[in-house]
C-alpha cells in the first residue's frame, strides 16, 4: 500500500475542490476544465471585448473615392469597401449591435421556449393545449410578411426592439423540442421526489427538470445566436432596420447588394463580417463544451 499516502494527499484536494464547486465558487476554474472550452472562452471574450471597446478607441473609417474596392494591402489588410473605407476598421467597430441583438434575441427566444415549453409539458391540460396552439400559430405565421408589415408601421430603431422582435418570433421550434423532452423528464422519479418535498412548481421545472436538458438548450441557444444574427441581417435586407453606423450586418447587406461576391478584391467585404460571426459561433460552441460539463456532471472527464 505504497499508494496510500499519495492517495490521501490527492484525495483531500479532491474533496476540497468538490466542496468549493458545490458551493458555487470558482466558475473560472471550471471553465478551464477543457482546453478547447478555454480556447472558446477566450475567442468569445476577445470578440465581445473588441466589439465593446473598439468603437471607443478606433476612429471611424474614412471614405476614400480613390480606394474603392482596393483589395488587401499593407495599409488595408482586408482591403476597402465600395466607398473606400478600411474593412478592418469596419469590422473592429461593427460588432456591437450585431452581438447585442444576437445574444439578446437568442436569450429571449431560448427563455421563451424553455419557459413555455417546460411549463406546458409540466402542466399539460388546457395550458398546454393553448400554448401549443399559440406555438403552432407563431411558427406558421410567415415571418417575412410579418416583419415587412411591422417594419412599415414601426420604426425599429433600437437594438432592443430588434432583439425583442427577432426573439419573439423564433422560439416555437425550440419550444416544441423542449416540451417533448420535459414530457418524458417529468415522469422521472426525481421530479416526483421534488414534488413531494414541495419545492414549488417553478423550482421543480426550472431547477430540477430543465438543467437536465442543459446541453441541448445550450447548443440551441448558440444556434439561436447565429440565427438571430442572420435574422437581423435579413431585416437590413428587407430594409426594416435603419442602416446607420458601422455594423457587421449592414456590412453584409451592403456588400451583398453591391455585388462584393463577384470580385476577389471585394469578396473580403462580405466574407470578413461573416467570418467574424463564424468565429464567434465557433468560440461559443467550443465554450459550450465546458459549460456542458459544468451543467452536467456526468460529462466531466477530468
Amino acid at each position: 500500500m505504497a499508494q496510500a499516502t499519495v492517495e490521501t494527499a490527492t484525495l483531500e484536494t479532491s474533496v476540497d475542490s468538490g466542496v468549493r464547486s458545490v458551493r458555487g465558487s470558482s466558475l473560472l476554474s471550471q471553465l478551464t476544465r477543457s482546453a478547447s472550452g478555454f480556447a472558446g472562452l477566450i475567442i468569445v471574450v476577445l470578440i465581445v471585448a473588441m466589439s465593446l471597446i473598439a468603437p471607443l478607441v478606433v476612429p471611424e473609417a474614412k471614405p476614400n473615392v480613390n480606394q474603392i474596392w482596393s483589395g488587401p494591402s499593407s495599409r488595408h489588410w482586408l482591403g476597402t469597401n465600395n466607398s473606400g473605407q478600411d474593412i478592418v476598421t469596419l469590422i473592429l467597430r461593427g460588432g456591437r449591435t450585431v452581438i447585442f441583438v444576437g445574444f439578446g434575441a437568442a436569450l429571449l427566444t431560448t427563455a421563451i421556449a424553455v419557459v413555455i415549453g417546460s411549463l406546458a409539458a409540466y402542466f399539460r391540460g388546457r395550458f398546454d393545449a393553448i400554448m401549443l396552439q399559440i406555438t403552432d400559430i407563431v411558427m406558421t405565421i410567415p415571418q417575412i410578411i410579418l416583419l415587412a408589415v411591422m417594419g412599415a408601421f414601426f420604426e425599429l430603431n433600437s437594438p432592443f426592439a430588434l432583439a425583442a422582435l427577432i426573439g419573439v418570433l423564433s422560439w416555437p421550434v425550440l419550444m416544441r423540442s423542449i416540451r417533448a423532452q420535459v414530457l418524458s423528464l417529468k415522469e422521472r422519479e426525481f421530479v416526483e421526489a421534488a414534488r413531494l418535498l414541495d419545492l414549488g412548481t417553478l423550482r421543480i421545472v426550472f431547477m430540477e427538470i430543465v438543467p437536465n436538458m442543459a446541453s441541448f438548450i445550450l447548443i440551441n441557444f448558440i444556434i439561436a445566436i447565429t440565427n438571430a444574427t442572420y435574422a437581423l441581417i435579413g431585416m437590413y435586407v428587407l430594409g426594416l432596420a435603419p442602416m446607420s453606423g458601422d455594423n457587421w450586418g449592414i456590412m453584409i447587406n451592403d456588400a451583398w447588394i453591391s455585388g462584393a461576391m463577384f470580385n476577389p478584391n471585394s469578396m473580403l467585404y462580405i466574407l470578413a463580417p461573416v467570418a467574424m460571426i463564424v468565429i464567434m459561433q465557433l468560440g461559443l460552441i467550443m465554450l459550450s463544451r465546458s459549460l456542458e460539463e459544468i451543467l452536467n456532471p456526468r460529462l466531466r472527464d477530468r
Binding site: 478547447s36 399539460r124 411558427m139 408589415v149 417533448a180 423532452q181 460571426i277 463564424v278 460552441i285
Partner: protein
C-alpha cells in the same frame, strides 16, 4: 395458465360517457381539429398581413407606367385596373369572406399579377421543384447530420468531434444565400468546376418527362445538384450539433451500458438504443423543416435560378400578388401544421412513455 384465460373479473366501467365527449376524448381527432383551427387563424392572419403590406399591385404597376412610359396617373390607373382585375377599394372584410369561402371550396383564387392564371396552377408549377430539391437536400442533411452528431457524441473530445464541430458550425454560420453565391462564383465562374450556364434552372431547355422519359431524371438531378449541395451544407452542421448534444445525454443512460453488456452489435446500439432515444427531442425540429421544404429558400433558388416555390413567393411578394402570396403561405402553413401533427404522433410512437400518460389523464 388456464386459470388466467378462464375469465376476466373486471368491474363494469363507470357510467357511459356521452358520445360527444368520447369523440372529443379521441386524441387524434382533437389534434386534427386544433390543427384546422391553427390553419384558420394563420390563414386569416396571412390574409390581413398580406393586405397590410405597404404598396399594392395596382400602385406598383402605375408607378412603372408613370415613371417609365410617361403615362398619366389617371391613364395608368385605368389600365392597371383593367389588367389586374382587382379593386383595392373593395372593403377588406368583404375580400376576406370571399377568400374564406374560396378556401372552404379549396379554391385559392386567381393570381392578381398574372391575368388568367389560377393560383393553384402556379403553385402546382413551382412547388414540385422545391419539394424535390429542398426535400432531398434537407433529407440528406438530416441523415448525415444525425449520423455525424452521433459520431461526435461517441467520440466526444476526439479529433472527429473537433473537426466536425468546427466544420459544422462554420457551415451553419454561413448564410445559405452566401454559400450559394460562393458555389456559383468561386466553384462555377472562377474555377469552372461545373458549368453554371447549363446548370441553371430546373431542367435543360426542352427536357420534359413526356419527351425524354427516364432520361428526364438525370437531367433534373443535374440541375438540382447545386441547390441540393447548398441545402445540405448549410443545414448539416446544425443537425449534427443538435444531434450531438442530444446523443451525449442519451449516452449517459444506464440502458446503453446494459446494451453493451448484452453484447449487442454496435450498430444496433447506435441505431435503436442511442439513436432512437436521441432523435426524440429532434422530432419536432425535423417536422418544422417541412415548412422550409415547402417554402423553399428564396435566395438560394434565385442564385441558382432554380424556379421553385421560393421564386414564386419572391415574385409574388415583389409584385404584391396577394392571392398568390396567400396561396403559397397557406400551403406552407398547412404543411407545417400537419408536419407538427405528424411529429406529435410519430413522437408518441417513438416514445411509448408519452402515449400512456396521454391516455392516462
Amino acid at each position: 395458465m388456464a386459470a388466467i384465460e378462464a375469465g376476466v373479473r373486471g368491474r363494469p366501467a363507470t357510467g357511459a360517457v356521452p358520445i360527444l365527449k368520447k369523440v372529443w376524448r379521441n386524441y387524434a381527432l382533437r389534434r386534427f381539429l386544433r390543427a384546422i383551427f391553427v390553419i384558420w387563424v394563420v390563414a386569416t392572419a396571412v390574409f390581413f398581413l398580406v393586405r397590410l403590406l405597404p404598396g399594392n399591385p395596382v400602385e406598383q404597376y402605375i408607378q412603372v407606367q408613370v415613371s417609365q412610359y410617361g403615362a398619366t396617373y389617371a391613364d395608368a390607373q385605368r389600365s392597371a385596373q383593367a389588367y389586374f382585375n382587382f379593386d383595392p377599394g373593395t372593403p377588406l372584410i368583404q375580400q376576406y369572406f370571399v377568400y374564406l369561402w374560396g378556401l372552404c371550396r379549396l379554391d385559392l383564387g386567381m393570381s392578381i399579377g398574372n391575368r388568367g392564371m389560377a393560383v393553384s396552377t402556379l403553385i402546382a408549377q413551382y412547388l414540385p421543384w422545391t419539394l424535390f430539391s429542398v426535400g432531398i437536400g434537407v433529407g440528406i442533411a438530416i441523415i448525415i447530420g444525425l449520423i455525424l452528431g452521433m459520431i461526435m457524441a461517441y467520440r466526444r473530445g476526439g479529433a472527429i468531434d473537433h473537426a466536425v464541430t468546427a466544420i459544422g458550425s462554420f457551415l451553419h454560420a454561413i448564410p445559405n444565400y452566401l454559400l450559394a453565391m460562393i458555389i456559383v462564383v468561386i466553384g462555377g465562374a472562377r474555377f469552372g468546376l461545373f458549368d453554371i450556364a447549363t446548370m441553371r434552372g430546373t431542367a435543360s431547355p426542352g427536357v420534359t418527362f413526356k419527351a425524354y422519359g427516364l432520361a428526364f431524371f438525370p437531367d433534373i438531378f443535374y440541375h438540382a445538384s447545386m441547390p441540393i449541395l447548398t441545402y445540405v451544407l448549410t443545414t448539416v452542421g446544425t443537425w449534427s450539433l443538435v444531434m450531438k448534444s442530444s446523443t451525449t445525454q442519451v449516452l449517459e443512460e444506464d440502458y446503453v451500458t446494459v446494451a453493451r453488456a448484452r453484447g449487442l452489435r454496435d450498430l444496433r446500439i447506435r441505431t435503436n438504443y442511442v439513436g432512437r432515444n436521441a432523435i426524440l427531442p429532434l422530432v419536432s425540429q425535423i417536422a418544422t423543416t417541412a415548412g422550409f421544404v415547402v417554402g423553399g429558400a428564396i435566395f438560394v433558388e434565385q442564385t441558382f435560378k432554380y424556379d421553385g416555390i421560393g421564386t414564386l413567393l419572391y415574385t409574388a411578394l415583389q409584385g404584391r400578388d396577394y392571392t398568390v402570396l396567400e396561396g403559397i403561405l397557406l400551403i406552407v402553413t398547412v404543411t407545417v401544421v400537419f408536419a407538427n401533427l405528424i411529429a406529435d404522433l410519430v413522437y408518441s410512437l417513438l416514445d411509448p412513455r408519452i402515449r400512456t400518460t396521454e391516455s392516462g389523464d
